[in-house]
Amino acid sequence: MSLYYMVLGFFIIKGVLAWPFYYGLKWKALQVGLALALFQGSSFTMLYHETKFDFWALFLIAIVFDTAVYFVLLRRVWWKAILLGVLLNLIGFIFFIILNG
C-alpha cells in the first residue's frame, strides 16, 4: 500500500468526515485530521509489515487516542469525541486492511 493513498485515505476518513461535527471550528478539524493521517497512516503500515503487533489492541488504542485528540484539541464534548473515535477508526481500519491485507 502506497503512503500517498494511505495518508489521503486517512485524511478523508479522520479529517473530512469529522469536519461536519466540528463545523464551527472552521479548518481546525481538517488540521487535526491531517496530523492524525500523517502519524497513523505511516506508523500503522510499519507496525503491520515489520512487527507482530496485535492489531485488535491497536484498534482499541487508536480509538482511545483519537477520542482523546478530538476531545482535547477540538471541542470538549464527550459524545462527539467517542462517536467519532469509534466510527472513524472502524472505517479507517477496514480501509487499512482492505488495502494492506
Binding site: 503512503l3 500517498y4 493513498y5 496530523a35 505511516s42 489492541a57 491497536l58 482535547v72
Partner: protein, 189 residues
C-alpha cells in the same frame, strides 16, 4: 509512585501486544528476502540450481503435499526474490536450497539449506573444489519495500522510502504535539 505503576502497566500491555499479537496477522506481508549470486560463471561443467518448497495444497500442514521446484541459476549476477506474502503455515516456503549439479552425470554433488526469512544474502562463488562449492555468503537485514506512489519501482529506493515513512510519522506526531501545546498555552494565558 502511582504514575510509575500506571506507566509500567501501560508498557507491559504494549509489550504483551507486541509479543503475542495474533490480531490481523494471518495475511501480513513481510519483508521480501533478496538473494544475489555473483561469480556463477566461475563454475565450469557444473550447474547451480535454486530450489524452494511450496505447498501443493494450501489447507493442510502435511508434509506429503510439499512440491519441490527447481530453477537453474544461469546469469551472472543473478537476483532471486523470495515470496513476499506469507501466512503462518506457509513459512516453510522460505526454506531455500542451493544445489550443485554435475551436468555430465546428472547427479547432485553438493547442497546447502538457508532459511530465507528477514535476511538478504549475497553469495560470492569462487569455484568448485572436490565436488564442493566454494562460496562466501554475506547476510544483511531485509527491509520491507515500502512505496510512496503506486507503481513505483522499489528495488533501489526502499531504504529511502522507509525513512520517508518514519519522517511522516514523526511529523504527524509533532503536529499533534504542537497543537496540544498551543492549546495549553492559550488556556493558561
Amino acid at each position: 509512585m502511582k504514575h510509575f505503576l500506571l506507566g509500567f502497566v501501560f508498557f507491559f500491555l504494549l509489550y504483551n501486544c507486541y509479543a503475542d499479537g495474533p490480531g490481523f496477522s494471518i495475511r501480513r506481508v513481510g519483508a521480501e528476502s533478496i538473494f544475489t549470486f555473483k561469480g556463477v560463471s566461475n563454475i565450469k561443467n557444473f550447474v547451480l540450481a535454486y530450489s524452494h518448497y511450496e505447498f501443493y495444497k494450501k489447507d493442510t500442514a502435511k508434509k506429503e503435499f510439499y512440491n519441490q521446484l527447481l530453477e537453474i541459476i544461469a546469469e551472472d549476477p543473478s537476483v532471486i526474490y523470495t515470496q513476499e506474502r506469507g501466512r503462518h503455515w506457509e513459512e516453510s516456503e522460505r526454506d531455500f536450497y542451493i544445489s550443485l549439479i554435475d551436468t555430465l552425470h546428472g547427479i547432485t554433488l553438493d547442497s546447502m539449506k538457508y532459511v530465507a526469512k528477514d535476511y538478504n544474502i549475497d553469495f560470492t562463488i569462487s569455484g568448485v573444489v572436490d565436488g564442493k562449492l566454494q562460496y562466501k555468503a554475506d547476510s544483511s537485514k531485509a527491509v520491507f519495500q515500502y512505496v510512496f506512489f503506486k507503481g513505483e519501482s522499489t528495488t533501489s529506493v526502499y531504504k529511502k522510502n522507509r525513512i520517508i515513512f518514519i519522517a511522516c510519522s514523526i511529523l504527524g506526531f509533532l503536529l499533534l504535539l504542537g497543537m496540544f501545546l498551543r492549546k495549553k498555552n492559550n488556556q493558561t494565558n
